[in-house]
């Protein structure tokens, strides 16, 4: 492309993705469904269904050191063990947060995202501001999410793409010794698996 740069255009999604949008637009125009109704249902899945799969994976990794080792060595295979498929040939890499390293994920070009484990991406993940600034000033952006990373921890930013998707394995909060996987799963948030929030210690009780 010479006359126009590639940033002047957005690559359209697949034909099926465009067709579903076409049907939705037509149905709204003809008054068959309310505008926004579909988005609301999608949001329910985005917030409730999607990240729960990732939360299961995190809870298993916290509870089973051998599984965690397999997960970090080969995320794609370890996810298959839990029956998590639907991957379209892209590899999954799991990034472990530790006391020395904090990881955060982005897709600088578009909105590649680990759909299979986290559901649909939040709208800010797709924003131009997040995509560019998290690379340039990760600590400042994380602080805006309310996450202060201390100076003695390294921050690593991982750029997802068509071949590789990343998911963050957050640190297990203190005060959760002896918890079952189901209890642990309930603690894990979507944002902690993107790397823009940490899971806080839970009061005993």
């Amino acid at each position: 492309m010479t006359a126009m740069g590639h940033d002047d255009h957005t690559l359209p999604p697949s034909s099926l993705a465009l067709r579903i949008k076409a049907i939705e637009t037509l149905m709204v125009e003809k008054g068959k469904i309310d505008p926004g109704a579909v988005t609301e249902i999608v949001d329910i899945f985005q917030n409730k269904l999607g990240p729960r799969i990732g939360a299961k994976v995190v809870a298993r990794a916290w509870s089973d050191p051998a599984y965690k080792a397999r997960l970090l060595a080969d995320g794609t295979e370890a996810l298959k063990e839990l029956g998590i498929g639907g991957l379209q040939g892209e590899a999954m890499h799991i990034l472990e947060n530790t006391s020395e390293v904090h990881n955060v994920i982005v897709c600088t070009l578009c909105s590649c995202y680990p759909w299979t484990v986290l559901g649909l991406p939040p709208s800010w993940y797709k924003s131009a501001a997040y995509r560019s600034r998290i690379v340039i000033e990760p600590r400042a952006v994380l602080a805006e999410f309310g996450l202060q990373i201390s100076d003695d921890r390294e921050v690593r930013v991982y750029d997802s793409n068509a071949e590789i998707r990343y998911m963050v394995l957050p640190e297990r909060p203190a005060g959760t010794d002896g918890w079952t996987e189901i209890q642990l799963e309930a603690l894990v948030t979507r944002d902690s698996m993107i790397g823009v929030s940490a899971l806080t210690a839970v009061a005993a009780g």
């Binding site: 099926l16 469904i33 559901g119 100076d151």
Partner: protein
Amino acid sequence: MTTAEPTVDPKWLEDGPAFSEPWQAEAFALTLQLSRAGNFSWSEWVDTFSAEIAAAPQAADEDINTAYYRQWMQALEKIIAARSLISVTEVTDYEEHWRRSYFFTEHGKAIEFRKGLEPIPSGALEDLEHDHSHDHDHHHGPVAISPARRVGQ
């Protein structure tokens, strides 16, 4: 028109559909909403969908989700056409409006649906796809690192 709350049956949240791409969630949600609004009953939908699954089963080179939502879309287009809700021609026209709306939007900006845009120049989509996959070169490591401050610095 429905006035029902856009709630989802808890069973779908427990062991409901897994989506491997966002449009699959849109397809699911749109079908649910069309049924709720009274355009077809859920059992009519299940009949149409199961007939489609039987007629066009999963191919050897398809994963389960790809096959499932291919069948889902075919069933949805059939049930819509059978009820004369919208025609195939309209869907095809609007699909092209959406494609052009994407193409003529600056990268990173929200896509606004527009009609009457000029056709996408021949070969431009292929060029864009090529640039896209080229830029998406394999990064195995982090794209940026903000190092820890060492003691004494």
